[in-house]
């Protein structure tokens, strides 16, 4: 009996080991380029002596991992490019927070132990709101690539009052996107006059945009004929919402949601032969690269986005080319672009303020806060970008329409 159980245990252990080795081998192959790149980046900075330590956290595992990994990849790339120029040197440590406030706080602890001097804060909003207070308490400068909620930069988000002061955003705030969308539709009544909205009510990105869009739409006198909601548990079937929108006579559907559910909505609308104009926000970006999605369905979809990978300017083309070369031909989304801009904005501010690696995080924070509120930045996601004292970014969202499978800028 004892022998048998020992044998069983041994067998189970052997299987566990085999599985680990097999999985590690798979994972190892995929992540090898990133790792070797990170190593060479670190080696480069070490030889130059004294690199400024940039921290950051985002979901590298779990359902939101696509955003965190995009930010990490782009930030690593940007750090290497900055280091390659000589002069200013950066070192990056990007931790996993699994899109969870608790994990983001411990990631912050790990970064602080590492000696972080400047930070990319967090990729997603809810964890960002949890660590903002800590960045303020420890007086470390942070700029989030994509934490778009007001709670990331304001202590009192309900009234948009008492900003933290040292937390900046590279992306638009959610309310601004809603307001910009409503304003755009008010100025372009040819797109559609009877508006239906389908949004995800358990997601603060989606409901944040919706709330402000609705308020602004009422103010501008837009006619909203139908509002439909969905949540995580029923994000696969939209026939009911689409049917109701159709019955209400909507000729434009506003979709303040991410591209995953949006692709299903487009497919299902096509199946029921319902062809309104679809209007999305920056979360719609990425729909053209979604696997298994017929991009012809996205023809004529409008979206407001700060970045499109198909733009023809040199900066965007270089970025897209290099990013694809590093990441198995993956087309960069706006999260990657925002992260890339964050690193270069920090670099610009550091150069202007003469920040060196031997300065304390607190001194760097003062210097960078001063620079950010006064400087103008040109990057992938906008020209003449400026920041207010409260940390909100000011840049103009670009309206694009999808034509022949690429984004085409809409002339004002």
């Amino acid at each position: 009996m004892r022998k048998k159980s020992l044998l069983k245990t041994g067998l189970s252990l052997a299987m566990v080991l085999c599985m680990t080795v097999a999985l590690t081998a798979c994972g190892g192959a995929a992540s090898a380029p990133a790792e070797s790149a990170a190593e060479s980046g670190e080696a480069g900075s070490a030889s130059a002596g004294g690199a400024i330590k940039i921290g950051g956290s985002g979901p590298l595992t779990g359902p939101a991992a696509v955003y965190g990994n995009a930010v990490k990849a782009a930030a690593e790339m940007a750090v290497e490019e900055v280091n390659a120029k000589g002069g200013l040197q950066f070192e990056l440590d990007f931790e996993d927070d699994t899109h969870d406030a608790e994990k983001a706080v411990s990631a912050y602890g790990a970064l602080k132990d590492w000696g972080m001097q400047v930070s990319l804060a967090t990729v997603t909003s809810a964890p960002g709101a949890a660590v903002s207070q800590m960045y303020q308490d420890d007086h470390i400068f942070a700029i989030t690539p994509s934490g778009s909620s007001l709670a990331v930069i304001y202590q009192d988000p309900d009234n948009a009052a008492s900003p933290y002061g040292n937390i900046f955003q590279m992306c638009f705030t959610d309310p601004n996107q809603g307001i910009a969308s409503a304003d755009y539709l008010a100025g372009h009544s040819d797109l559609g006059s009877k508006i239906a909205i389908i949004y995800k009510n358990d997601d603060n990105y989606s409901s944040g945009i919706y709330t402000k869009f609705r308020a602004e739409a009422d103010e501008k006198g837009l006619e909203v004929v139908y509002e439909g909601t969905f949540d995580d548990s029923n994000a696969s079937d939209f026939s009911v919402q689409l049917k109701k929108a159709k019955d209400a006579g909507a000729d434009l559907i506003f979709l303040p949601i991410y591209y995953d559910p949006a692709s299903l909505i487009l497919t299902q609308a096509n199946q029921m032969d319902y062809k309104p104009t679809f209007f999305g926000v920056d979360g719609m970006d990425g729909i053209l690269t979604l696997e298994g999605f017929d991009t012809s369905l996205a023809e004529g979809v409008y979206l407001l986005t700060p970045f499109s990978a198909d733009a023809t300017d040199e900066l965007t083309q270089n970025f897209t080319k290099n990013y694809k070369a590093r990441n198995q031909d993956e087309i960069p989304n706006q999260f990657a672009a925002d992260a890339y801009d964050c690193v270069f904005a920090i670099a610009q501010a550091c150069e202007a303020a003469g920040v060196t690696a031997d300065m304390s995080a607190s001194d760097i924070c003062d210097a960078l806060t001063k620079q950010f509120t006064s400087m103008t930045f040109n990057g992938l996601t906008g020209q003449n970008v400026t920041w207010s004292e409260s940390g909100e970014v000011s840049k103009s969202p670009k309206a694009v329409v999808i034509k022949d499978g690429v984004y085409v800028g809409v002339e004002e």
């Binding site: 994972g27 406030a101 602890g109 809810a126 009192d156 009510n201 358990d202 409901s207 949540d231």
Partner: protein, 354 residues
């Protein structure tokens, strides 16, 4: 006195108390001498919260023998109650610890009420119904809080459900903001409060376990028919364990919610319930000391493995499997028992409640 603490029935609990106090003292010394890293400092309060929730769940699953798959739901109720109360009282009660105590008591009471409401119909039944109902409860609570909007301004409270119709005057504050949960919470939870909460929950659970009611709970678990035949009211005794378990989860949730400046309803999902159940099962059903150790190890492990980057969740899973295999291995058990007996200098079998 000392003899009483070390005798057969009391030894288990004495070990628990001493372990918690010694760990607390070591960590406090490390904090004050500046030897504790920021990473560990940030983990102290969540570890305390999970321990309290796991102790509560162990009372229900281990001692009472009823499976509960919604412990995170009760934590959620406790957390959002506490966060709302603390947010509302922020101006009038400026003393942090006092507000924390009020918030925790409120969280405990509301969780207990929910536990009672669920227990009344379900615990009259025999079988796995509690597991099914608590599973549903966890999901329902998550959905309800996701759709709840509660705010207050100079004119009083405003509440709306599903659609946010609250229009606050300037200076107003949203206590619950739908899917965004609670934001801008003042962090008033402390490690000391967490340790006190652990000690209080240990005292409650041990006193219950070794009381007349506790014996009745275990009798009802081991043989329902026999227990009924000697006049034990099964549903009442099971109810007692379940409500205490829910209350402890509420206290854990309250402490947890007040430790972060933001809290989203999606945090307390099914996965969190299962995670707490894993702490309990790996720590040992009915074994509170084991639960505490298992919780500490399993909460710290993914953080200690941060340097492994991509492989850390993989290694975490492997460690879980290893712990399961090793703790269930007959060889290991025998050796462990022998070691224990040698340590205590006794040859006879352990008389601990399991």
């Amino acid at each position: 006195m000392l003899k009483k603490l070390l005798d057969r029935t009391h030894r288990g609990r004495t070990v628990s108390y001493i372990m918690v106090v010694v760990l607390y003292l070591i960590i406090e010394i490390m904090i004050h001498s500046g030897n504790l890293s920021s990473l560990f400092t940030s983990l102290l309060v969540p570890v305390c919260c999970y321990i309290v929730a796991a102790i509560g769940l162990n009372l229900n699953v281990g001692v009472s023998g009823e499976l509960n798959l919604g412990q995170a739901g009760f934590m959620s109720v406790g957390a959002f109650t506490a966060v709302s109360i603390s947010g509302y009282l922020a101006a009038s009660v400026s003393n942090g610890p006092v507000r924390l105590i009020i918030a925790i008591i409120a969280g405990v009471m509301i969780s207990a009420v929910f536990g009672l409401l669920i227990g009344i119909p379900v615990l009259k039944l025999e079988g796995d119904y509690l597991a099914i109902v608590t599973l549903a409860f966890g999901q329902i609570i998550k959905s309800i809080i996701t759709n709840m909007y509660l705010g207050f301004d100079g004119n009083g409270f405003q509440f709306s459900f599903v659609d946010n119709n609250t229009k606050l005057a300037p200076g107003g504050k949203m206590l619950l903001n739908g899917p965004m949960g609670a934001t801008g919470t003042a962090k008033i939870s402390t490690f000391t409060a967490g340790v006190i909460l652990i000690l209080v929950s240990l005292i409650i659970v041990y006193h219950l376990m070794y009381s007349r009611s506790g014996r009745a709970i275990m009798a009802a678990r081991d043989n329902r028919i026999a227990a009924e035949s000697v006049g034990i009211d099964i549903s009442r005794t099971k109810m007692l364990a379940f409500v205490v378990s829910a209350s402890l989860a509420g206290a854990a949730g309250a402490l947890y919610g007040l430790n972060y400046s933001t809290l989203v309803p999606a945090k307390f999902d099914f996965n969190t319930s299962i995670l707490i159940l894993v702490y309990v099962v790996l720590g040992g059903l009915g074994n509170m000391t084991g639960t505490i150790i298992a919780t500490i190890i399993l909460v710290l492990l993914p953080e200690l493995l941060r340097s492994m980057q991509d492989y850390r969740m993989l290694i975490y899973a492997v460690v879980l499997i290893l712990i399961m295999l090793l703790t269930n291995n007959e060889n290991m058990k025998t050796r462990l028992r022998r070691l224990k007996n040698r340590f205590s200098g006794r040859g006879r079998k352990e008389g601990e409640v399991s």
